[in-house]
């Protein structure tokens, strides 16, 4: 009798809590991941500048480095999710949140980031710049 009563209460609680927790988890919204993204014309990105774009859900930083030319990498710091920036004066990619640094190939070179940034391909077709998955 006690087991039945206890089980009933536990079941009733579970029946209330489970839908509430499921309600709190947002439904998956599949967003079409593009294979390629047109980001603008070459003259819009002079050497020494950078800009962040959304590649599907992923923020991608397009960098026009004086030394390495055009390159694109995932813009999300692998440490704690901040968006990185290109520092022309450092010749590196820098995260202001916890002072993490990456070289222009995306490799984590100093500070707390545990992993490199994911590289993306950059294609220039008739002066139009495209970013694509590698």
């Amino acid at each position: 009798m006690r087991i039945l009563f206890g089980g009933g209460i536990a079941g009733a609680l579970a029946a209330m809590i489970y839908p509430a927790i499921k309600f709190l988890i947002p439904p998956e919204e599949p967003e079409a991941e593009p294979d390629i993204l047109k980001v603008g014309r070459k003259e819009d990105f002079p050497a020494g500048t950078s800009k962040i774009f959304k590649f599907g859900r992923t923020p991608v930083i397009l960098i026009h480095s004086k030394a390495s030319g055009l390159l694109a990498l995932s813009a999300t710091c692998t440490h704690l999710d901040c968006l990185v920036q290109y520092r022309d004066d450092m010749g590196a990619i820098w995260c202001a949140c916890h002072n993490g640094k990456y070289d222009l190939s995306g490799k984590n070179i100093s500070g707390p980031p545990p992993r490199p940034l994911t590289p993306f391909a950059v294609k220039v077709i008739r002066d139009e710049i495209f970013i694509a998955k590698v």
């Binding site: 947002p26 962040i52 923020p59 704690l80 999710d81 968006l83 920036q85 916890h98």
Partner: protein, 348 residues
């Protein structure tokens, strides 16, 4: 009128009880006021928060704009917004001071374990209030602070990604996160805090004020009216300090959050999260092949659990006796928090 109320509610009994309640008088008596000031600041937060709610509109297209509207167009809007922000900071500061004074006076010892534990929960709730309220103006600093803060939640082994989705309302910090933290800030946290506060105050009344390491039969003063009047003078001073801060150092709104902008240079969290921020900044990326931030977060959680459970691991020392280990732990915590906060403040 009093007779009418007394017949129904027993007011005289309550007054009689208040007359007999005493507060110990010794060199540490000044610390007894910290809890009262924290309570006063919480009441101010609720009042100014309700006023701000009249104009605040949650949403990525309206949060920043409505706060700007409050501060620039609404009569005394700048005052209430600034007051709310400054009070939040003083509230956390006084809770820190209250908690550490209770810790060093060993006021958590038997039979006040539950008072300490409910107080610690209130401390965590105050930090949660600060964290959830920080995003509501939807400005650049708040956006990245929330990104980092919620990402830390995602590091919890096993259930991290699941918790992250619940807090953010999706994979990233978006309008959904704003809605959730708003709900948390104005409904969930006030509800839980009110219950915890009632419990905390009830425990204080049931157990009476701790004498700390002073003799139980030392000098005392009546709570009503002696202590309460002193308390209220301090509340008045606090209110004046707040007014000066709110008027002469108005809280900035900053730039509106841009989800596609890099984190700006010099970005830092609020001062009460600065020590954890700085610690996470100096921990190496990998420690014995485990991600550094995970090690840091686990250590902070472990320290928090030990702090919460101090009445139990300190229980073997008879009341009134010195416990060097507890003192060293407390001193280390104070020095660590101070050093990391100063370092975090000055570091680039």
């Amino acid at each position: 009128m009093l007779a009418w109320l007394n017949e129904r509610l027993g007011v005289e009994k309550a007054l009689e009880w208040a007359k007999h309640k005493t507060v110990p008088v010794h060199r540490g008596t000044v610390f007894y006021y910290l809890g009262g000031v924290s309570l006063f600041l919480f009441i101010l937060q609720v009042m100014s928060g309700i006023l701000l709610l009249m104009y605040y509109r949650v949403g990525t297209d309206s949060s920043y704009e409505s706060v700007r509207f409050i501060t620039t167009k609404v009569d005394f809007g700048w005052l209430f917004r600034s007051l709310h922000s400054w009070t939040a900071n003083l509230f956390v500061l006084f809770i820190f001071l209250h908690m550490f004074s209770v810790f060093f006076m060993k006021a958590y010892r038997k039979p006040r374990e539950l008072t300490w534990m409910s107080g610690f929960v209130l401390f965590c709730l105050a930090l949660a209030f600060g964290f959830s309220g920080y995003l509501l103006p939807w400005n650049e600093l708040a956006f990245f602070a929330t990104k980092v803060g919620t990402d830390i939640i995602g590091e919890v082994p096993g259930i991290g990604s699941w918790l992250l989705k619940i807090v953010r309302g999706g994979e990233d910090v978006t309008g959904a996160t704003l809605s959730r933290l708003f709900g948390l800030h104005v409904a969930v946290l006030p509800g839980i805090t009110t219950v915890m506060l009632v419990l905390h105050l009830a425990f204080v009344q049931i157990q009476g004020m701790s004498h700390g390491d002073q003799p139980e039969k030392g000098k005392t003063m009546p709570f009503f009216p002696n202590f309460l009047l002193r308390d209220m003078i301090l509340w008045l001073i606090t209110l004046n300090i707040l007014a000066v801060l709110a008027v002469f150092f108005p809280w900035e709104l900053g730039k509106k959050a841009d989800v596609l902008a890099s984190a700006p240079a010099g970005i830092k969290p609020e001062w009460y999260f600065l020590f954890t921020y700085q610690a996470l900044k100096v921990i190496p990326g990998k420690i014995l092949s485990i991600p550094g931030e995970l090690v840091g977060i686990l250590l902070f959680n472990l320290a928090g659990i030990l702090w919460f459970l101090v009445p139990f691991w300190d229980a073997k020392i008879p009341e009134g006796k010195r416990n060097r280990v507890v003192n060293i732990v407390g001193l280390f915590a104070v020095l660590f928090i101070l050093a990391m906060t100063i370092w975090g403040h000055w570091s680039s």
